[in-house]
Amino acid sequence: MSLDRETVRQTALLARIRLDEDRLERMVGELNGILAWIDQLNEVDTSSVAPLASVTGHALPTRADSVTDGNDAEAVLTNAPDRVGGYFAVPKVVE
C-alpha cells in the first residue's frame, strides 16, 4: 500500500495539521516508508494467532458509579482563551 500526495494532503487537513508543499512531499516519502515496513510485517502468516490487544495480560480496569470529580468550573476554564460567564467562548461555529 502506498499513499499519493492528495491522500496525505487530505489526511493532514482532517487532522488539522498544516503542511507546506515541500513538507508535504517529504511526508509522502516518510509515510510510504512506514507503510512499506508494515507491508513487510504483513508477510508473516498470523492466521492462527489471536489478535493481541495488550501485552500486559491485564483486564480493562473499571470503576464504581459514583460522583468523585467535577464541581470546579474555574479549574476547567483556567486555560480558556476566552469565556463568557461559566462558558468557554469560541469563534462562532454555526453549521
Binding site: 482532517l14 490487544a53 483486564a59 458509579d65 460522583v67 468523585t68 467535577g70 468550573a73 463568557v84 468557554f88
Partner: protein, 483 residues
Amino acid sequence: MSTLVSGSTGDWEVVVGLEVHAQVRSESKLFSGASTRFGAEPNSQVSLVDAGMPGMLPVINRECVRQAVRTGLGLGAKINRVSVFDRKNYFYPDLPQGYQISQYTRPIVGEGSLRITMPDGERVVGIERIHLEQDAGKSMHDQDPSRSLIDLNRSGVALMEIVSRPDLRSGAEAAACLRTLRTLLRFLGTCDGNMQEGSLRCDANVSVRRPGGELGTRCEIKNLNSIRFLQQAIEYEAIRQVEVLEDGGKIIQETRLFDADRGETRSMRSKEDAHDYRYFPDPDLLPLELSEDFIAGIAASLPELPETRRNRFVSQYGIGEAEADFLVTEPEIADFFEALADGRDPKLAANWLTTELFGALNRAGLPLSKSPVDAGTLGGLIDLVADGTISGRSAKDVFSEMFETGQAAETIVDARGLRQLSDGAAIAALVDAVLAEHGDKVAEYRSGKVKLLGFFVGQVMKQTRGTANPQLVNEILRERLAG
C-alpha cells in the same frame, strides 16, 4: 400491509431505519467521576478527562456497562463477550478531546429485535446493534453575536446508540418503534426517555423505492427531538424524495435537518464518509470482556418487561386491552395501578386511574410523578364508595377536592357531611314522612302513574341533602308504595 406513497408514476415504498441515542441512567459519566445531573451550572460537572486535558486517562463506569447489557437483554439481543472502544476523530469545539470514544467494529450488543403494534397488526423490527459511546458538550450559537458558547457538562456522559434495521415502512411505524423503545428503556431503568432534556434523541435514515425493489439512496435526518417531529420529518422527506425521482432527479446521500416551524427537512452538509472519521482502537482502553456470571446476574435481575406486564394485566385483572396498553406506557403508571388494584375491584381501579385521575392530571398539565393524589389516597376513596359510605355521585366531588388539597377521602367526607345514609330504618322513617305528606301523589301513583317514583326519591334526597343511599331509598319506596 405497508403504507405506500403514490406518486404520478406509481407507488413508492418508504424505507426507514432509526439511530437512537439514549443517555444511560447513571450517577457519573462513562469514563470519569463527574456527575451526569441535568441542568447544573455550566462547566460545573466536568472532570479534566471530560475537558480533554493532556495526560488524563479514561476509566470505564461498571454501571454503564451493566445498563447497556440490560438494554441488550431487554431487546433479546446477543451480548458480545468481547467488545472494543475506538476513537472517532473529528473537530468541533464541544468535543475537546478531538475524538469521541465510541465502538465501531465490535459493539457491546449485537442483533436483537423489538415488536411493535400497529392498528392492523404487529411488526418485528430488527435491532442491528447497540454500542456505548461518549456524548459531546453543548454549543450555544445564539447567546452572543460573534462567539459560540460551550458547556462541557454533557461531555463524556454515557450514551447507548441503538441502531435499527431498515425495517420500518412509514413515519407512523417509526413513531411506534421509538415509542415502544422508550417504554422499554423506562421499564428497564436504563434511560429516562426524556426527549425534552435530550436524554433520548433520534436520527432517521429515509429512502424510497418501488415496492419490493432495490433500496434507494438514503438521507439521514438528524436530531429529531420528539416523536411527533420524527413522524412529520419522515412523511415530508419521503414525499420530497418521490418528487425528486419522478422529476428525473437523483437523491444525494446527505444529512438533513428538520425545521419544526416549517415542517420540512433541509440539507445540512454532505455526509462525511465513515472513513473520514479515521476510527482506530483507543490505545487508552483495553477490550471490554464480560464474564458469563456478569451477564447471567443481569439477566436474573431484569424487571418484568412492558409486553409481559400488559398481558398479565389483561389475564390477572380482567381489564381491557386498550386500558392495559395505556397502563404500561410508563412503569410509574403500571406500579400505581397495581398498588390501587391491590385488594380492590381492578376494573374500578383502572377506571378511576385512567378516567378521573388522568383527566385531572391532563387538565392541570401534570405528570403522574407530580400527582397530588397517590395510590393510597385514591384507594381510600374507592373503598368508601365500595362499602357504601358515600354515593358514587359524591365520590366525584370528593375526588375534585382531594386533587386540590391532597387530603384523605375520610377527612373530606366528614368535613362536608357527605357520609351516605345507609341506615334502613332511618330511611324508612323518612320515606313514611314523605308519603304521609303527599297523600294525593301516593294515590295517583297507585292508580298507575308510576313515573311519580322519581318525585318521591327526590323528596327523600332533599331531606337528606343528597346523602341517602339511592338504592335503599328506591327499594324502600317501592316496597311502601306497593303496600
